[in-house]
Symmetry: none
Subunit: 363 residues, 2 copies
Amino acid sequence: MKLAVLGVGLVGGSIGLAARKRVAAQVVGFDPDPPTLRTALELGALDAAAGSVAEAVAGADLAFCAAPVSALPALVTESLGASGERTGVSDVGSTKQGLADAVSDLEQGSRFIGGHPLAGAETSGVAGSRADLFEGARWFLTPTERSSGIVFDRLHSFIADLGAKPQAIDPAEHDRAMATISHLPHVIANVVAAHAAETLAAADRRPELGRSFRDATRVAGSNPGIWGDIYAANGAVLAEEVRSVIEKLQAVVGPLRAGDRESLEAWQADAAGYRQSLLDADRPGGALSELRLAVENRPGVVAEIALALGRAGVNIEEMSLDPSTDERTGAISLWIAGEPEAARASAIIEGLGHSVTILSGGG
Amino acid sequence: MKLAVLGVGLVGGSIGLAARKRVAAQVVGFDPDPPTLRTALELGALDAAAGSVAEAVAGADLAFCAAPVSALPALVTESLGASGERTGVSDVGSTKQGLADAVSDLEQGSRFIGGHPLAGAETSGVAGSRADLFEGARWFLTPTERSSGIVFDRLHSFIADLGAKPQAIDPAEHDRAMATISHLPHVIANVVAAHAAETLAAADRRPELGRSFRDATRVAGSNPGIWGDIYAANGAVLAEEVRSVIEKLQAVVGPLRAGDRESLEAWQADAAGYRQSLLDADRPGGALSELRLAVENRPGVVAEIALALGRAGVNIEEMSLDPSTDERTGAISLWIAGEPEAARASAIIEGLGHSVTILSGGG
C-alpha cells in the first residue's frame, strides 16, 4: 500500500509511523515546513519526503490531509486535483461539515471521505508522534451519498489496521455532537478561568484551587491556534450550544437568589441522573458477529448502510468490502459486537433491500 | 484537652480520630442518629458517646459543630448556650457568612469562630473517617472583631496539630472565593451535563465522552443533600457569579456566529493566560507543566511511574488517568512544578520505555 501524508505534525506523523509499522505501507510525506518534514523522516514516520503535494500523492492508495482545519479545504482540493482516480483522499480535522461543503462541488469529490480521529487533538508537533496514538481510539468517517464505496472500504480497513475504531457518521451530526462533547467544554473552561482570574485578583486571600476548579478549567486556553480554528469552523453550531447553556444558567439564578434549598437539591439530583445516563451510554460490549451481504457496487451503497446503522446506534467494529471481478457487485462483511446488536443490524440492512447472512463468532 | 464533636459523619469522625491520635485529646461525641454515634465509637473516633449536645460540650475546650450547613445556626446556638464560658465553639460548614450573621447577636458569640476545612466535602458517612483526612489541607477560620483571641489561638493551634493549614479569612470573602472556586464549577458541571443529556439523547450516534467532557462534568450532581444546602446558603453570591459567567458566554456568541477566527484565537490565548495566572498563584515554587503519556492499561503501570519519580525526588502535583474506551490503553497526565523538574520527570519516564509529551502552561 502506498500512502501520502500531507502535513506531518503529531497526527500526520503518527499515521506515518503506524502505517509503516502495522501495515508495512510505503509512506510519502509532504509538509510546507522543511524542518518538520526532515524531523518526520528522521523519526521514521516517512519512507520519503516529497517536494510538493503533487509529488506526495502520485500513485497513492490513500492520501491523508493533516493540516489545521482552516487550511483543509484548499489542501483537500489540491490533493484531489493532483492525484489519480485510484487515490482516496481523507483528512483528520475536528469539524466536518464545512469541509464536506467545500468539496461537494468538486468533480473528484467522490474520492474524498472526511475523517476525524479522537486522538492527539490537544498536542501538536511531529516530535510527539507515536505508532500507537490511535490504538483503541474512535475514528469518525463522514461518507456522503456521492462517496465511492471502494474508497470507503479501503479507508475503513486501513484505519482499523492502525488499531483505531472507524465509524461512519453524518458530517452535521458529527459537528453537533463534537460541539456538545468537546468544543462546548472548552468554551466553558475558558469562561470559568477568565471569571475566576478577575474575581480572585480582587481578593486579598483566596483558597487554593481545588479539584473541582482544576477539572473545570483544565482545558482552558489549550492550543489557541488549533482551537481558534475549531471554534470558527463550528461556530454556528457552537453558538447555539452556548445559547442553550446560557438559558440553563439563567434558570438557576432565581432559585439561587431565593435560597430555595428544596428546588436546588432537586436540581442537583437531576444533574446526577443526567451524568449517569451519559456515562451508561458509553459502555460497549459483546462478542463479534459477522454480517455478510452482497450489494450492487455503486457509489453510496456502503455509505448508505453505514449511515443507517449509525443512525440506529449500531457500531461497526470492523468491515470489509470485496468487489467482484466485474466490479458490478461486492460482498460486504460487517462485524458487530453483541448478538442482539447484530440481529438489529441485520434487520436494518434488510430493510434497505439487501439480503444478510449472520455468521456468529466471526472476527 | 477535652473536645466535643457534634455530628460524627466523615468530617466529625475524622476530627475525633485525628484529635485522639495526634493530640491525645479526650473526645466526646454526639449525633442525633444513634447508629452513627455507635459506629463512631467503634471506629475509635470517640472516647465517649454523649446523650445530648449539652452532655457533650460540658467542660470542653473546643466544640466542633459538624452538621449540614442548614442545621448549623441552630446547632451552634445550642452549643454556645449549653457550654461554659471557657469553651470555644467552631464549625466545619462550606459557607460562612450566613452562620456568622446568625451568631452575631448572641451574647456568647465571642466564643464562636467559624471554620471550613477543605477536605472530605464530597463524601459523607462516618465509615470513611480517617485520622489523616486533614493532613496538609487548608482549614479556613473566620474570626470577627468580636472573636475571643484566646479561642482563636486555641483553635488555630489545634487545627495545626491535626496536620492542617489554618488560615484566617473574612466570612464574606471566604464565601465569594468559594463560590468562584468550588460552588460555581459545580453549577456549571450540572448545566453542561443537563445540556449534553438533552442534545445527545436526540442524536442518532454520538462520540464517546472524551476527557474534556468528563473533566467538565465530573462533579455534576454530586451529593444533592449537601450541595442543595451549600447552593442555598451561598445563593446570593453564587447568583452574581452565574450572572458574570452568563455575560462572558454572551460575549463569545457573536464571534462564534461570525466564525471570527482571529478574535476566537485571541480569546483562547487570553484564557491560557488566565489559567496560568491562577495556577502560578497556587505554586510559588514554579509554574506547572503537564506531562502526557499513553500507557498500556495494566495493573501496576501507574505505580511504577509514581515510584520511579518518587525515588528521584520529583513531586507529582496532580495526576489524572483517562482510560481509552476499550480500556486497553490509558492516557496519563502528570503535573510537575518547575520546568527543570518537568524535564527531569520526562527523562525518568522515558527511561521506563514510555513516550512523553510536555505541555507547558498546565495543559
